[in-house]
Amino acid sequence: MTAAIVVEGLEVVFDRFRALKGVSLEVREGESYGLVGESGSGKSTLLRAITGLAPVSSGTITVNGKRLGKSRDRAFYREVQMVFQDPYGSLHPRQTVDRLLQEPLAIHGFADGERRIERALDEVGLGKGFRFRYAHQLSGGQRQRVAIARALILEPSILLLDEPTSALDASVQAEVLNLLEEVRRRRKLTFLMVSHDLAIITHMCERLMVMQNGEAVETLTASQLIGHRVDADYTRNLLRASEGFVRA
């Protein structure tokens, strides 16, 4: 099996602050890979470095066998798309859903826009009724569905997910997670998903990396984690925390 994303010795520095300190990982094609950590662990920075939104100071990123340079070309964005954490901030406030979905098609010169937009809305379970609404006329879950539709409309092979459900209610979270699993199965997508919640990552991913302070703590399979076969104390702490409060 080939690798979809290979990251080697990645360093990201913001104003002398080392957000990522030499992180390496390999995501196989068609795999769902999770990054778990608390705030400041560098997990979101890693995603942003892959998309070109965070400056890489050293290390390499290879996507679908192509080594990435400083800038990303249009072809890259047809392969890799991202869903942001906050559905309230990731949709343009003055554009209808229709306009939001049309934009990527216009940039990449797709001709059959009408059909694609309708199909994309159907795929994320929104349907035509939502096509001409503005973001403020949508609930958080509906917004995140629009964001997913926008990411899928260019038919990428890799989807980067930055805490896609952490701003949503638990019941809506379940719906969005199910949707993500469904589109992944249907389109044979590769997922790289970031979350602070171990339960979500073990639910969604086959393999995961635990991160802390810009470094990798350990790499595990989901079944290792479920069986509590972990080496690092930090991971054990996280596991304990995810089980809720225990009175001493």
């Binding site: 939104l53 990731s90 343009h92 406030p93 209808t96 990527p104 940039i107």
Partner: protein, 306 residues
Amino acid sequence: MSAEAIQSRREWLLSERPASRMQARLGRAYVAWRRFSANRLALVGLLIIIALLLIAALAGVLAPYSPTFGDLKNARLLAPSAEHWFGTDDLGRDILSRILYGSRWTLYVVILVAIIAAPIGLLVGTVAGYAGGWTDAILMRITDIFLAFPKLILALAFVAALGPGIENAVLAIAITSWPPYARIARAETLTVRNSDYIKAVQLMGASPFRIVLRHIMPLCISSLIIRVTLDMAGIILTAAGLGFLGLGAQPPLPEWGTMIASGRRFVLDQWWVAGAPGFAILIVSLGFNLLGDGLRDALDPRSGDQ
């Protein structure tokens, strides 16, 4: 139209599920209109501006006399009467007619200044804000140079260089009024450039040009429209000021500022000569200010999207 039809049309406009691009756009405009029309003073402002437009369009029909030729023999400096509502000036011209025709020049000035200055400011501000770095530094220092001088003085300097005349006055005012717009557009751009929705467009592979033009500018436009409207009064006054100083419109053009200038010699004895155009300037400036305030309530993105 029956009450029912009105009701159903309103529902169509306010629909949470617009069925077409057109309906979504009209619905949005309708919500803004409702917010605007809830403000009585703003409606007064709008009425004044509409009246100004109508007067300018129909000046030829409305004006009882010629604006440029007067009856020097019999009608010099007549006080307001049934025949000459606002009196006559030193050349025997009917002041009412001159004011009606003068509205055309007022509109000519404000509209031209707005369509020259606002786009320049918008472009400079958004490009500087989005590009950052050197581009930002250079563009903003140029802006600062313009902002460093009082507007009227700078306009005077330009007119002095270009030569007096209403076209040059327009040009001079436009050149001096874009910097505040650039500042506003830049500030708006800085608040949105790091937002996720702009990042999302970057991740679509959009070029910086496209992002600025299609995603950032539309967000800056409403605050710019508000600001330009509020500035209209200032533009009228600057134009009048230039006219008053003899650097704007040249006689016998019935421009309000020039009229005040020529009336100032008899302001104590024949107050109406300078008073009438002064009053016209006051009313129109007030109209633009009220309209601007109303637009701020209706369009301000910060007042929420509901």
